[in-house]
Amino acid sequence: EAAMELPPSHYPASRAAALATGYACYRRGSPGRGLALRAVRRARRQDIDDAGRKYHLELVLEDVLDKDSTVNCTAEVLYHLDNKKIAPDVQFTIEGELKNTDEADNIFYNRIKTLEKELVAENIPDSHGNVSPEMEPIHLLAWVASGYVIWQNSKENTKFQLAQIKRVKQVKRSDEYLEFDYLILLHEMVSQEIIPWQMRVLWHPQHGVQVTQDSRQPKQASE
């Protein structure tokens, strides 16, 4: 079936774009680099018999730490048929170079490696949107890792964003990796629900970010 042009400002394009961005951020991000969606330049949609619905997207992504730094990104998102309970397929290409974050990543890595006690923190950002400079890489790491959870759980009628880190605990490791256990809140735009989610995140400067385990949590009792 031929691809149909979609208005970039309408929600089918923006939902697919949010998913593609989350996935790209997961694959390319680090505590020193997060990617966010700046704009949808073009979107097309195609129904694929017996497979699902595919979106062709032309996006502009920005570096969350340096808003002036943007890259073009083309992406394809395939939402599988509803009865197949599998995550959407996402492929993307980023045009040009992303900023090198080796120095910032290594500084963060060494800081955490030399902590006397395992890192523990809560409510990042706090109610007023504050994130201390020491917690900025922890925040960004959650932003990157949440891209995985968002990718795995997105459908055509959902749009997820990381709302807040409720708590983060560093997990002691004997090898060179850093590991953190996060409890995050995801905001799902269509239902407007706030969904607690737990995730285990592994990171090493040379090995990227990996979510090794994750689980949806029940809504808090304080309602």
Binding site: A36, S127, A163, Q164, M189, S191, E223
Partner: protein, 264 residues
């Protein structure tokens, strides 16, 4: 009773603009922006020619904490609370989505009948005193010409409808106003907004505020979704409050000036 600011240079029951912020309690940049708008009107009503000319012909009504119970709850118990804090019999869950409680296709698609849901429409239209107070005010006043309900986040300027894909009769005019308003907003700090009808731009929603106000005959009915686009979301850093309010005010002036020049 509810707390409402009226900015007026006199006259009797002049045509008016209504602005509300904080109807969803977790959207803290909106209540804060409302405070800034109030101060702006008081400081600038003589020296800003556009504002002075608006107030020569029209009153401005501003409700800043439109959902007070929810607001308190976000400060004391749960920063992410959205709804009112009403308890209706038959459910252990608290609160109604005040932006699904209006009498515009009430209970239709895009609102939930589950009391535990964030988009619960409530037991019946205007069940929430926060909503009924505004409905009564608008009906009693009878001369409101522009109605703007302010939310966050997503950086959108929206016009009706949310409950149906049928475009409003004034769609072309509202779209043109939106284009101008968004350009004015962007001109200050380069903040990018998208605009369009609710149902095409974000989602289908029934029982929404500006669908009701439009159907009451208030042609210039708009909803804003302020900063940002998700990086901080509801937890927008406090240092972004003033820039957000400043740029939004430019868009509001476009809408108010258009209403003043096209009174009906």
């Amino acid at each position: 009773p509810f707390l409402l600011f009226q900015f007026s240079k006199g006259g009797t029951n002049r045509p008016a603009v209504w602005i509300d912020t904080g109807i969803h309690s977790r959207e803290w940049v909106t209540q804060a922006s409302g405070v800034w708008f109030a101060k702006k009107i008081i400081l600038d009503h003589e020296n800003d020619k556009g504002l002075a000319s608006i107030l020569d012909k029209m009153d401005i009504f501003l409700e800043i904490v439109t959902n007070p119970d929810g607001f308190v709850f976000t400060q004391t118990q749960n920063r992410m609370w959205r709804k009112t804090r009403s308890r209706h019999s038959g459910s252990a869950c608290v609160g109604v989505d005040p932006n699904r409680n209006w009498d515009a296709n009430f209970g239709g698609p895009g609102a939930s009948r589950n009391p535990c849901s964030e988009t619960y429409h409530g037991p019946y239209a205007n069940s929430e005193p926060e909503v009924k107070a505004i409905v009564d005010f608008v009906k009693n006043h009878g001369n409101i010409k522009a109605f703007v309900s302010i939310h966050s986040y997503s950086q959108l300027l929206l016009y009706p409808y949310g409950y149906t894909r049928t475009p409003v009769p004034d769609q072309k005019e509202l779209h043109q106003i939106s284009e101008k308003a968004v350009a004015a907003l962007s001109s200050l700090y380069g903040t990018n907004y998208k605009y369009g009808s609710i149902i095409t731009t974000i989602y289908q929603a029934s029982g929404g505020t500006i669908d009701w106000t439009y159907n009451q005959g208030i042609k210039y009915s708009f909803t804003f979704e302020l900063r940002d686009t998700g990086r901080y979301g509801f937890l927008l850093p406090a240092k972004q409050i003033v820039p957000t309010a400043q740029e939004t005010w430019l868009a509001l002036k476009v809408i108010m000036l258009h209403a003043r020049d096209h009174l009906y």
